[in-house]
Amino acid sequence: MIKLENLTKRFGGLVAVNNLSLDIPKGEIFGFLGPNGAGKTTTVKMLSGLVAPSSGSALVAGYDIVSQSLEAKKRLALVPDEPFVYPKLTGAEFLYFIGDLYGVPHSAQEKRIPEYLEMFDLSRWQGELLESYSHGMRQKLVIASVLLRDPEVVLLDEPLVGLDPKSARLVRDIILNLSRSGVTVFMCTHTLEIAEKLCHRLGILYEGSILALGTVDDLRKRSGQPLFDASGARVTLEDIFLTLTGGAEAASFL
């Protein structure tokens, strides 16, 4: 469903994403991990057409994101890390606006928008301007707008940042449901615990290149970590991540 081949992005002399190749099948939840500045957000932006690749190719649902960008965009939905939305629209207006733009039938909008607002605890805020929404509320609204469109691919950039525990749980369940119904989810996150529980496969990006790719077990083997540490505790994805990206050494400075 998502296929990247030698995808590269340069900003002047800086190579933000370097020869990235991935193949993510339909219905998979793919976790994209990496330290700050590794190139995760740039990859998501390239996939969603917000940034043009310098070289290489990317297919979404079989459509090239550069030459067939409109077809690709019809099938994918994005939740950016900073959910900037029009401050002078109300929450409900934003959802109708997105519904209209993506050609969601009006009968479906009338039925589903109140349901999503209810689901995300936004009903009593639906008539308020978005400038008065908190970060988490805007995040939930953008996720609701994604669900409204029935996309085939969902790109999530830090979807759980700013969400309260109840909403975070809801979003986790939504991601699982999307996957079960055949939607491919590409998720950048720093919440390793969630990534470990949710994602079928994980990729660790480091300085623009893939450092490790596979299931949690694959990554553990790649890092040379045992299943349990010396104290008998289970080795977590966080331990594996820090071993692979060098964060464990940094901690020794403390």
Binding site: G49, E71, K73, E82, F97, L101, E128
Partner: protein, 556 residues
């Protein structure tokens, strides 16, 4: 601590300078030179006016001072209004405020830092415009070098006092009405005040200053000249101080200079002292969201109903619905309508006041009027059309991730802005023609021309606005005053000049026709018409295509 805050500003400015690319340096250099050229032009104009006034028999020596105190009063009012509007952003809504307030910085220090920013931001352009005036006044009145030095030195507290008025008013407003809605109210009041000042400047008919016969009794005129202009305002103090210096009344000079410096110290001292209590409360209130309280989340309107029924198909209509909603709810946008009204009123008033005699002369003025009306349309475009793409702001990701070509976004902006732009142009030209009694040929020519000019300026505004977008600005003025805004205005003016030059031939033949000496050369006529069509087509297509390419490749 204040030095540390000022140091961060100096460092930011320094880093901006050293990281400047060569092309950026040349653009800035070009703007600086253009600014200097404008100031030199202003100097010659001021000198001419002041010399003329000074030369009027008997009352001449009084006139330049009267004009000076009036000009200073207007400058003071403008700085005060500008200070109020700027303070509402810099003191309460700057991006860095949350970080600064959460840092261990005393509120007074923080206030002082933001006050310096507000005072400089709101007054430097107005202060700069006064420099050529002061030089011209000194030349006319025979001022020495010390005259210029003292006058410019006194301008500093004078301008700072103007800004202090605005800042104090913002503090008081936010203290007593600590809510985000206060900013909207200030925007409306600010726009209305600027509109009022602008209309007053024109409607008081300053040309009467040199024509005593226009006042009913000459004694009234002399009284008007001798009376102080707003004696309790700093504008009078600085005028009186400099008059005193020039005429050797040094006690007056010292007295009014001391009043200016004393007032500025007292004003800023008082603000700094009270800021600890007043500023914190206002800032806290400004962070609170406003409950809009719409009864129905998406009110049913004819437009919404048409969208619902599918009769308005395509994303352009949905975007149009969104933009209309945003414009009506954003006070900064619609409060400017008062200024448009003022521009139109002053424009038509000025046309009515023109001392033009004879049918041919009136028609000729109507023809030249196209240039002035076109300039007004282009200037309004700088405020509304040019920033249209940039106004998508940080929500641009929504549009860029749509399965939609960016040409549809530009088309929607054109749908939204072309009709009002054209209407204003037609009203200006049509009404002027009516008042001037222009003949049918000139009326038809000027009406068609202004329609085409309005549409071309609209396309240029949208296209160039996409070539030079500014999505991350704190206020719309940063978009208008950018390099792109300057290029847009230059392109519009060049286009207008070319249109008038191409229309000169048929207009000349028309006037020859009236006196019975016309010999129409169809080759020349075809060349003019062909030239107009080609020029207008190029003025639409080239910026549009450039803008389209720029926005399609723009990386969010």
């Amino acid at each position: 601590m204040i030095w540390l805050l000022l140091k961060r500003r100096a460092l930011s400015a320094f880093n901006g300078l050293v990281s400047m690319k060569l092309w950026e340096f040349f653009i800035r250099l070009f703007f600086t030179l253009a600014g200097v050229a404008i100031l030199v032009g202003l100097y010659y104009w001021f000198a001419r006016v002041l010399r003329y006034l000074d030369g009027v028999q008997t009352i001449g020596p009084l006139l330049p001072w009267k004009l000076t105190s009036m000009a200073l009063l207007i400058t003071f009012s403008m700085v005060a209004i500008s200070g109020l509007i700027a303070a509402m952003t810099t003191l309460y809504y700057s991006y860095d405020l949350k970080f600064l307030f959460s840092s261990p910085i005393p509120v007074r220090t923080l206030f002082l830092d933001k006050t310096i920013e507000t005072a400089v931001y709101s007054s430097w352009t107005l202060g700069l415009v006064m420099v050529p005036y002061i030089i011209a006044l000194g030349q006319v009145k025979g001022g020495t070098m010390l005259f210029y030095i003292y006058f410019l030195a006194l301008m500093v507290p004078f301008i700072l006092l103007g800004a202090a008025f605005g800042i104090m008013l913002s503090l008081a407003l936010m203290y007593f009405f600590p809510t985000s809605r206060t900013r909207d109210a200030v925007w409306i009041l600010g726009s209305l005040s600027l509109t009022f000042v602008y209309m007053m400047i024109r409607f008081v008919q300053p040309e009467k200053l040199s024509r005593p016969d226009t006042l009913e009794v000459v004694a009234n005129y002399l009284n008007f000249l001798q009376a102080p202009t707003a004696p309790y305002m700093p504008s009078w103090w600085i005028s009186r101080a400099m008059m005193g210096f020039l005429y050797g009344q040094y006690d007056k000079f010292l007295q009014y200079s001391a009043l200016l410096f004393g007032s500025v110290i007292a004003a800023y001292g008082a603000m700094a002292y009270f800021s600890k209590w007043v500023y914190q409360r206002g800032f806290s209130g400004a962070q609170e969201g406003f409950r809009y309280g719409v009864k129905r989340a998406v009110p049913w309107t004819v437009e919404r109903w048409l969208l619902f029924k599918g009769w308005l198909k395509g994303p352009e209509w949905t975007l149009l619905w969104k933009d209309r909603k945003l414009a009506l709810r954003d006070v900064r946008y619609w409060s400017q309508l008062a200024l448009i009204f003022a521009i139109v009123a002053v424009y038509l008033f000025s046309i009515r006041q023109l001392p033009v005699e004879g049918a041919a002369m009136k028609s000729l003025i109507s023809f030249v009027n196209i240039l002035v009306a076109g300039f007004v349309v282009a200037s309004l475009g700088l405020r509304f059309t040019f920033p249209a793409i940039s106004m998508e702001g940080r929500s641009l990701w929504v549009i860029k991730s749509l399965p939609m070509g960016m040409s549809r976004l530009m088309t929607e902006k054109f749908m939204l802005l072309s009709v009002p732009s054209m209407l204003i142009g037609v009203v200006l030209v049509g009404w002027s023609n009516l008042m001037l009694g222009a003949d049918l040929f000139i009326t038809a020519l000027s009406t068609v021309t202004i329609i085409v000019v309005s549409l071309v300026c609209c396309c240029m505004g949208i296209g160039l606005g996409a070539v030079f977008p500014k999505f991350h600005v704190e206020n719309i003025h940063q978009i208008e005053s950018s390099a792109g805004g300057f290029i847009y205005m230059a392109c519009c003016l060049a286009y207008l000049a070319a249109v008038l030059a191409l229309e000169a031939y048929p207009v000349k033949m028309h006037f020859m026709d009236i006196i019975g000496h016309a010999r129409w050369d169809m080759r020349w006529l075809s060349l003019c018409i062909g030239g107009l069509v080609a020029l207008s087509a190029a003025a639409i297509v080239v910026p549009w295509k450039m803008g389209l390419k720029a926005i399609e490749t723009y990386e969010v």
